[in-house]
């Protein structure tokens, strides 16, 4: 399937990073670090591919993009076990077989940090 959601994701975190750099009155940006949850279906390779085009002409131009994968972490609503849902266990809690779980991590794309050049 051709999917375009990586491009809009790139634009979203670039906008956030530009806002941050502007607030900081930065002269430039060296690097931005983005966390990509496993549960998002976002492929980091495409983020890297689109980044130069998305940042062209902005304060982010020429900066390095670093993408870190974040594994899914869920907390079982029945027994409180924190686990990594996987297909092998039918995405259920491996301790008690519970199906109600609260996703703690791995569901979003976050801009973690911006390394700004101040002077």
């Amino acid at each position: 399937m051709t999917s375009m959601h990586e491009m809009s994701t790139v634009l979203r975190f670039c906008n956030l990073a530009i806002e941050t750099a502007t607030e900081q009155k930065a002269r430039g940006v060296e690097e931005i670090v983005v966390e990509v949850g496993e549960m998002t279906d976002i492929l980091p390779a495409y983020l890297y591919k689109y980044y130069p085009a998305a940042t062209k002409g902005t304060i982010l131009e020429g900066s390095t993009l670093t993408v870190e994968k974040v594994p899914v972490k869920a907390e079982c609503a029945d027994c409180g076990t924190v686990f990594h849902p996987d297909r092998e266990h039918d995405y259920k809690c491996p301790a008690c077989g519970g199906v109600r779980a609260h996703v703690l991590a791995g569901r979003s794309v976050n801009l973690r940090e911006v390394r700004v050049i101040k002077s």
Binding site: T2, M4, R12, L16, Y91, R112, E113, R115, V116, I117
Partner: protein, 222 residues
Amino acid sequence: MTDVRVIEVHQSVSAENDAIAADVRLKNRMDGTFMVNLMASPGAGKTSVLVRTAKALRDEMKIGVMEADIDATVDAETMAEAGVRSIQVHTGGECAMDAAMTRDAILAFHTEDLDLLFLENVGNLVCPAENDTGASINVEILSIPEGDDKPLKYPLMFEVCQAVLINKIDTREYFPFDDEAAVRRIHDRNPEAKIFFVSAKTGEGFDAWIEYLREQVSAWKA
């Protein structure tokens, strides 16, 4: 010497989308417009379900359809015949509607006099599940020929849906489809999901779905 500082941001990229989605829901709440984000694979029967649903409810409420599917399955004429106002929304190649596109569409479409508004999302089971559009509820249409294992392959889709229609039950004799397994897999993802077995072709099972929608619309306006 360059002075480089690390600025901790820790902000989700969906934060902006979620804020716009909340605005869309607030506007719809004030207008008394119940919005259904309808999602499905291409060919699952979104159009036929919409047409039959509209015909069942058009005498008691004002209905509109925002058609965002890339392949433009609903033409305005078909919906007009069913007594429904519709507009085409262009996603500009995006694989799903997001909250900003939805907000622009409802403003352009003047949805404020509608009681029931369908957003026919782009036909795929991955991207549409990731964006909150600001809809009152998410509904997924799964059809019998697609198989009962879809909830295993696309867990997020079934997690975000308040209701699932299992369409094309008139084709049961031709396709192996385990009702119990499908229901169990959907409820594993989302124990609260309402599940309706329907045929948009024959109308079988529609009464329960229509009654559900009627209740939802009146609760939204209360």
